[in-house]
């Protein structure tokens, strides 16, 4: 077990390193760089070409854009290893400062979405499997397909519309009430966050809920037909115990390994939702950074997101091993 963990850790580091190279290259792929964009802006402001050139030369040297790409990468990487995520050229601020709280809120939303999604999907999936082809099963199936088909962005817009027209909501979007946005963290602020969190969590979690319901239902149907379930029932166990301890536990495997895989979906879903709902997370920041070719900001965000994904996968594997003795005992 220990060796497996170690091996996975090394793999994780290598994966992250490859991702950082890939991310850096992808950001460089579109023609031009941050300064090309700045140049056209300066031109629109009617600066003379000599003024523009002197401005760009200075900035190019300052941000190291006059160096070859691999030197730029090495500079960025070496500061990344020291915990310095670089400097945002467009926002003129340290990436560390820009990211810290937004990253936490992004993870909070993704985690809340995951919890929400599981809390809803497990019971519904189990119920659907036990009452296969009942009207409730059909209803959940329809809801499930709807959830899979409806893009987050559209769902967010529909909910905003409903909130305004039907529920007469007095506050729309955001994660905090205005009085708490700049306040220090306190129980009241956490409560305020909780009040705002349900909407993005619902939107982000909706599609994965639908997917999970389908998986749980199918797995339960498979498991319920197995001989060991019959055995359990013959032993005189209560149906509750049969379902929770015997059937569900086995049916959970694909759900748990799916969780690790669903992380990127949750985070990208969060990005889109954040744009529509105006959430202070990394989504809007990433989009703007990509538009502006603000490569240190965009690159750092990509590496952090990938890091979250890789770690998430790792945790999912550990959980799986903990849940299922067959996986735990096989030493690869």
């Amino acid at each position: 077990m220990g060796r497996a963990v170690l091996r996975r850790s090394v793999q994780m580091v290598i994966t992250l390193w490859l991702v950082s190279i890939l991310g850096f290259v992808i950001i460089q792929l579109p023609p031009g760089d941050f300064l090309t964009l700045l140049e056209s802006q300066l031109e629109e402001q009617r600066l003379s070409s000599a003024q523009i050139e002197s401005a760009l030369t200075g900035l190019r040297a300052r941000y190291g854009l006059d160096q070859p790409v691999y030197v730029q990468y090495l500079r960025w990487m070496s500061s990344l290893l020291r915990g310095d995520l670089g400097y945002s050229m467009a926002l003129r601020a340290d990436v560390n400062e820009l990211l810290s709280e937004r990253l936490v809120l992004t993870l909070v939303i993704s985690f809340a979405a995951m919890v929400f999604s599981l809390a809803l999907a497990l019971p519904i999936g189990v119920y659907s499997a036990m009452k296969q082809y009942s009207w409730a099963d059909y209803l959940f199936t329809v809801l499930g397909f709807l959830g899979l088909a409806l893009p987050n962005m559209l769902l967010a817009l529909i909910l905003i519309f409903l909130a305004v027209t039907v529920f007469n909501a007095s506050t729309i979007g955001g994660l905090f009430s205005p009085e708490y946005i700049t306040a220090d963290w306190s129980p009241a602020k956490v409560l305020d966050l909780a009040k705002h969190l349900w909407l993005p969590a619902f939107i982000v979690g909706f599609s994965s809920t639908a997917g999970t319901i389908r998986v749980v239902r199918a797995q339960m149907l498979d498991t319920l037909g197995e001989p060991f379930i019959q055995t359990a029932r013959m032993k005189g166990l209560s149906e509750n115990r049969v379902i929770t301890r015997h059937a569900l536990r086995v049916a959970l495997n694909p759900v748990v390994s799916g969780l690790g895989l669903s992380l990127p979906g949750l985070i990208s879903g969060e990005t889109i939702t954040a744009l529509v709902l105006g959430l202070p997370t990394i989504g809007p920041l990433l989009l703007n950074a990509l538009f502006a070719e603000d490569m240190y900001l965009a690159g750092s965000i990509l590496v952090i997101l990938s890091g979250a994904l890789v770690v998430g996968n790792f945790l999912a594997d550990l959980t799986l091993a903990w849940l299922d003795p067959r996986i735990r005992l096989v030493e690869p």
């Binding site: 031109e43 002197s54 400062e97 027209t165 007469n168």
Partner: protein
């Protein structure tokens, strides 16, 4: 059986529990809308509705408590007396909305544009004198004026900006100095409250180009505050000096320090007291603001400006927030197609919908490239006046007006200033007439048609024009392109759509590698009568040629024929020292443009929509018509807005 029932109960219960949890979560957030959408702090802080003291109650309290000097000591000897738009106001309230940046951008300029968008009124400067030949301008500052922390404001602050930032040996980045050339022009201190800007060549347009949101720094910087960050004034090690200066420059970048650094003093009517990047900004009244109303009441009337910062906040969300009563002001993102939604809720929300003459947004205009570098035969067509006239004659502008602008605009080119429609200019070749268009095309040798019934070149080869546009740029870009392509097909022209994203657009533009494109502003009038002569919009290389007049080797392409005439008129209008001559040249420019149609307008005078809290008063446009444009809001004069209580 019992087992089964219990299982069912278990499953159902868990489902119900989860739903209940969700509903419980919904509860607090979907509270009923407050019956009173007006700003909350107003109610507590200014109960005396008819109060007309010389200063805001919140400041009077501080004076009484001894934490603030009395008003006489805070105001300069020469105050700015600001005529209210409509009436003397009442103190109090919070202006909530996504436009906090507009409020601060309009503030703190040496001079401010009047509503006529032609003349200027004093602002931070009391007045100014031009040298006869426009090679220098002398600004007179207000004696005894103070920064928002009570420190005296004066010529030294402007000198600090010019000498220690713009001209600093550390400054490797261009400082945006509108209308000045940092290499040849100078700033001279005459005395503590007099400053002279000296130019290497006449700059008659200096007041225009140095005004508004773009005039970063003309009124100076709080030297006493920023010196602590400047390597020349603190004991920074030599090897850290450049880094230190770069950081300071970043803080000053686009004047964002006014918002982002709540410690930095300002001369604006409001000062930032709370800020969170990308999310939130709160401004509080500046107790040292130098403006008063005609009765001597210190401005501003409104206590707080609370806003979203600019990054997070999708247009649809901002509209929804307005519909939920969360904002007191919304413009720029409101489209004509949104009008019915707001109109329906007007009374319920207590909002007021105001129309402005739109300077920027509403005018999708086709630009016909006069410097196209591709196919010579197509370039020849783009150079042919009758071809451009035929394009214009084919357009169904009525349909564009109805479908995109809800009929609020007027079909035409929109070359004239907002609010003006000159039939001879804006209506030239602007009424749909397929016969006339066909005759023009036949007349220039495009009378051959292929098997699809579409026109070919005289030698029978296929003729395809591409129309480039940035999807979603400005109001109705995609719809306009679609209608136009249908119309042009009617007169036998095969036009291919080429939607591009922003960056490619900008690259094709600088390479002159496009044929016809759609631009959301005409360039016909972007804020001032001298401006808007936008040769570069349809003849970029020729404009480069004009711009590089003084350089050793001229860039670009020398304009010929009618384009040259137009270019000469533009230069005359921009450079003439005689205003009457310049204005006449600008008029002739528009007449010639309407005849030659290097750019073809679609719908003119579609209004900009401003949605405000119905209790707000003194908003320009409420009583008298006003114009509004993106990035310029100085004439909105927020400091004399007030809430009627």
């Amino acid at each position: 059986m019992t087992v089964h029932r219990r299982a069912r109960v278990f499953s159902l219960l868990s489902v119900i529990t989860v739903f209940a949890m969700i509903l419980a979560g919904c509860g607090p957030a979907i509270a009923p809308a407050p019956a009173e959408p007006a700003a909350e702090p107003a109610a507590e802080e200014a109960p005396a509705a008819e109060m007309a003291g010389p200063e805001a109650p919140m400041l009077a309290e501080m004076v009484a408590a001894g934490t603030l000097p009395p008003l006489e000591e805070r105001l300069p000897a020469d105050v700015l007396v600001l005529q209210p738009e409509d009436s003397i106001g009442q103190y109090g309230g919070t202006l909530r909305g996504p436009h906090a940046w507009d409020v601060f951008f309009e503030q703190g300029l040496l001079q401010r544009l009047h509503n006529d968008r032609d003349t200027f009124m004093p602002q931070v400067a009391m007045g100014w004198d031009w040298a006869d030949d426009f090679t220098s301008i002398t600004f007179h500052l207000r004696a005894g004026m103070k920064w928002s922390d009570g420190h005296p404001y004066g010529a030294d602050d402007i000198l600090f900006w010019w000498n220690d930032i713009v001209q600093s040996k550390y400054n490797v980045q261009a400082y945006r100095v509108s209308g000045m050339n940092p290499e040849t022009d100078t700033v001279v201190k005459v005395d503590d409250s007099t400053v002279r800007f000296e130019f290497a060549e006449p700059r008659p347009a200096f007041l225009v180009s140095s005004r508004g949101a773009w005039s970063y720094g003309f009124y100076g910087l709080p030297a006493h505050y920023f010196k602590q960050f400047h390597p020349d004034y603190n004991d920074t090690a030599a090897d850290k000096a450049q880094e230190e200066f770069d950081k300071l420059r970043d803080v000053l970048h686009q004047n964002q320090w006014i918002v982002r650094d709540p410690n930095a003093p300002t001369v604006n009517a409001w000062k930032s007291v709370d800020y969170k990047e990308g999310q939130y900004v709160l401004f509080e009244r500046n107790p040292y603001y130098f403006g008063v109303d005609p009765e001597g009441n210190q401005l501003p009337y409104i206590d707080y400006i609370e806003g979203l910062d600019k990054y997070d906040g999708d247009a649809e969300l901002l509209k929804a927030k307005t519909l939920a009563g969360e904002t007191d002001i919304l413009f720029r993102v409101v489209r004509p197609s949104d009008f019915p939604v707001f109109k329906e809720k007007e009374e319920e929300l207590g909002i007021q919908i105001t129309f402005f003459d739109d300077v920027f947004n509403g005018r999708q205009t086709f630009m016909i490239n006069q410097n196209y570098i591709g196919d010579a035969a197509i370039s020849e067509l783009l150079h042919t006046a009758d071809f451009r006239r035929a394009l214009s004659l084919a357009l169904d502008r009525e349909l564009m007006n109805e479908s995109i602008h809800l009929g609020l605009g007027r079909p035409g080119h929109g070359f004239s200033p907002p609010g003006v429609f000159d039939e001879a200019i804006d209506g030239a070749y602007a009424t749909q007439d397929f016969d006339a268009a066909n005759a023009l095309l036949d007349g220039i040798g495009l009378d051959q048609r292929d098997s699809d019934g579409l026109r070919t070149f005289p030698d029978g080869s296929q003729l395809t024009i591409t129309l480039m546009f940035r999807s979603g740029w400005g109001i109705g870009s995609d719809e306009t392109a679609e209608i136009a392509m249908d119309n042009w097909r009617e007169i036998g022209l095969r036009v291919a759509a080429k939607p591009v994203e922003r960056k490619l657009h900008s690259e094709l533009l600088s390479a002159n590698d496009w044929q016809i494109r759609l631009n959301p502003s005409t360039g016909g009038w972007t804020g001032y009568w001298r401006y808007g002569m936008a040769l570069r919009q349809f003849a970029r290389a020729s404009n480069d040629w004009l711009q590089s007049a003084g350089e050793d080797e001229r860039r670009g392409v020398e304009p010929q024929g009618k384009l040259r005439e137009l270019a000469d008129l533009q230069q005359l209008a921009l450079q003439s020292l005689d205003k009457a001559e310049a204005q006449a040249a600008f008029h002739d420019y528009r007449v010639l443009l309407a005849d030659q149609l290097f750019q073809i307008g679609t719908v003119a005078n579609s209004p900009a929509i401003l949605i405000i809290n119905g209790k707000l008063r003194n908003v320009p446009g409420q009583v008298t018509p006003a114009a509004i444009s993106q990035g310029e809001s100085e004439y909105l004069r927020f400091e004399q807005w007030y809430y009627e209580q």
